[in-house]
């Protein structure tokens, strides 16, 4: 077993290359992003058993273990149910670069939906944000949309 540790003689080997992946969004997830591109609106999906509307729409209700089919049109507004202003630096595994801070991570209950949607809020002063505030999605310009979560730029606070 090691006792004294002479750190100056100990080496580490670095790996810092990107490892590409290609993830399938699925039928209803693809529809969600296409609705944003084509109509700048959200759709959710209703569980026939518990009646809960999920956003983003997915194929299965976990608690009921039921297959879902009924898409529901939703508003682009919602209510902020929780948030956190992120102040510490870390490398973003999406980009390999440090994620810009501060930014505000928010949980949004989109009007007409029963689940909560996570995204960013364009306000980083914690004093100016309160749980319960109304928010609205702000989309990218249509020409810039790529069919991913960043087609929503952020959610803006409505009643500051």
């Amino acid at each position: 077993m090691t006792t004294g540790r002479d750190y100056s003689k100990l080496l580490t080997v670095k790996f810092d290359r990107a490892m590409p992946y290609e993830w399938s969004v699925g039928k209803y997830g693809s529809r969600f992003f296409r609705e944003i591109i084509e109509h700048q609106r959200f759709v959710g999906i209703r569980c026939p058993k518990c009646n809960k509307v999920y956003t983003p729409p997915r194929r299965i209700c976990g608690p009921c273990f039921e297959e879902l089919h009924e898409l529901v049109e939703l508003s682009t507004t919602g209510t902020l149910v929780a948030f956190s202003v992120v102040n510490y630096p870390f490398p973003d595994p999406n980009t390999g670069q440090q994620r810009p801070i501060p930014y505000t991570y928010g949980y949004i209950n989109i009007d007409g939906s029963d689940s909560i949607f996570s995204h960013i809020i364009n306000e980083t002063d914690a004093e100016r944000i309160r749980v319960g505030m109304k928010v609205r999605a702000v989309f990218k310009d249509k020409a810039e949309m790529r069919g991913d979560i960043q087609d929503i730029k952020y959610f803006e606070l409505l009643n500051k």
């Binding site: 100990l10 202003v85 992120v86 949980y107 909560i116 995204h119």
Partner: protein, 386 residues
């Protein structure tokens, strides 16, 4: 019918922030040797091994085979289990299942992590959904921060109340030679530390640690011959809920812990946890959990935790000492963290705690936390279960 099972030996590394003097296998080996020494067995006495870590932290995806020279798994049945923060309790519970099934008499559970080998926050982000959550998610701290804000709004708890939990755990760590952070802190130190994500400050959260833990489980008939005072597993329960972050109800309390604790306590005959348990090693990754989650465990009523903790009930010498080891806020080698809770609870039952020993322990509780607000609960005892 399940066989009765006990923990007969435990081993841990001397945890610290960076161990460039060992690779993962060598670090695992240190813990395994200490566990075997603790119960005077050799690796030849071990029938099977369950091992776990957060495999994306070191980017080694076949840890079970990669680590055999360290774990002692050459030509033995070995499997890997990875469930996020609960990995350590998952390997413990799986080792228990192995022995309880009657197929194996002596099984080794191992948890380990070299947190220094990657960025913990970036690695945790890769646990989240790549299409929906990874873009905005920023690791464990902000999701816990949102939980803390909800708890403070409902209960009136203050940041100072939470800081008291961190002070307790860091004070207890002074008694534990294996703990990573062994410097005392005050409530003021916590309040003055940098704000990471409101209301969580640097000293409210766990560190990043390199370390490993190993625990030997044995069947009734064998266990009593190995250990003079084995730690019998009375019950365990697992509740792993949904993984869509948005589906978690922050206002409902930690439902997975409420339900896992209810099942484990019912099966172990624990009616009043504060009176019936003698010590608890809880997976509390941040200070606010030391308030909210002890309410979910039924240690006190909703909103009562600040007073319950403030009065010293969870300190050494209190009604129900929590984390004599110093807990997760003092040591967090993530894949080992929940197994350390199990090991430390077993140490208390076996009476091997040295300076951190709570006197006359009969029943001890260990918990695991991780994933998307998942919980595991293990109750052990000096008394053999019925």
């Amino acid at each position: 019918m399940a066989r009765r099972v006990a923990i007969v030996g435990t081993g841990q590394t001397d945890h610290c922030s960076h161990r460039p003097d060992v690779d993962g296998r060598e670090m695992i080996h240190e813990a395994v040797i200490r566990a075997l020494d603790d119960c005077e067995l050799t690796i030849r006495d071990i029938d099977a091994i369950v091992i776990g870590n957060m495999d994306h932290f070191e980017s080694i995806n076949y840890v079970d085979t990669w680590s055999v020279e360290g774990s002692g798994g050459v030509m033995k049945p070995i499997m890997k289990i990875t469930t996020g923060g609960t990995t350590g309790t998952s390997v413990a519970i799986a080792a228990y299942y192995h022995v309880a099934s009657g197929l194996f008499d002596r099984v080794l559970a191992i948890g380990w992590e070299k947190n220094s080998e990657s960025d913990t926050t970036a690695a945790i982000i890769t646990c989240s959904d790549p299409i929906w959550d990874r873009f905005s998610y920023s690791g464990a701290i902000p999701s816990l921060a949102t939980e803390a804000v909800g708890y403070m709004n409902r209960s009136g708890a203050t940041q100072e109340d939470a800081a008291r939990v961190a002070v307790r755990d860091r004070t207890h760590a002074l008694n534990n030679p294996h703990a990573h952070l062994r410097k005392p802190i005050t409530v003021q130190d916590v309040m003055d530390s940098p704000m990471l994500a409101y209301p969580i400050k640097l000293l409210d959260v766990c560190p990043r640690t390199d370390g490993a833990c190993a625990v030997v489980f044995a069947a009734e008939g064998t266990a009593e011959k190995i250990a003079p005072k084995p730690a019998w597993i009375k019950s365990c329960a697992v509740r792993h809920s949904i993984t869509w972050f948005g589906d978690f109800d922050f206002n409902a309390g930690l439902m997975s812990l409420q339900r896992a604790a209810k099942e484990a306590f019912d099966r172990a005959g624990i009616k009043n946890p504060v009176e019936d348990l003698d010590v608890a090693e809880l997976y509390l990754p941040y200070s606010y959990a030391g308030l909210k989650w002890i309410e979910d465990l039924g240690f006190c009523g909703p909103g009562e935790a600040p007073e319950f903790v403030g009065e010293g009930n969870t300190d050494m010498g209190g009604k129900i000492p929590i984390n004599p080891s110093g807990g997760v806020i003092s040591t967090n080698c993530i894949g080992a963290t929940a197994l350390i809770r199990v090991a430390e609870a077993a140490i208390q039952v076996m009476g091997k705690g040295g300076k951190r020993q709570v006197p006359d322990v009969v029943n001890a509780l260990a918990t695991g936390f991780g994933g998307c607000f998942w919980s595991d609960v293990v109750v052990m005892s000096t008394q053999r279960p019925y």
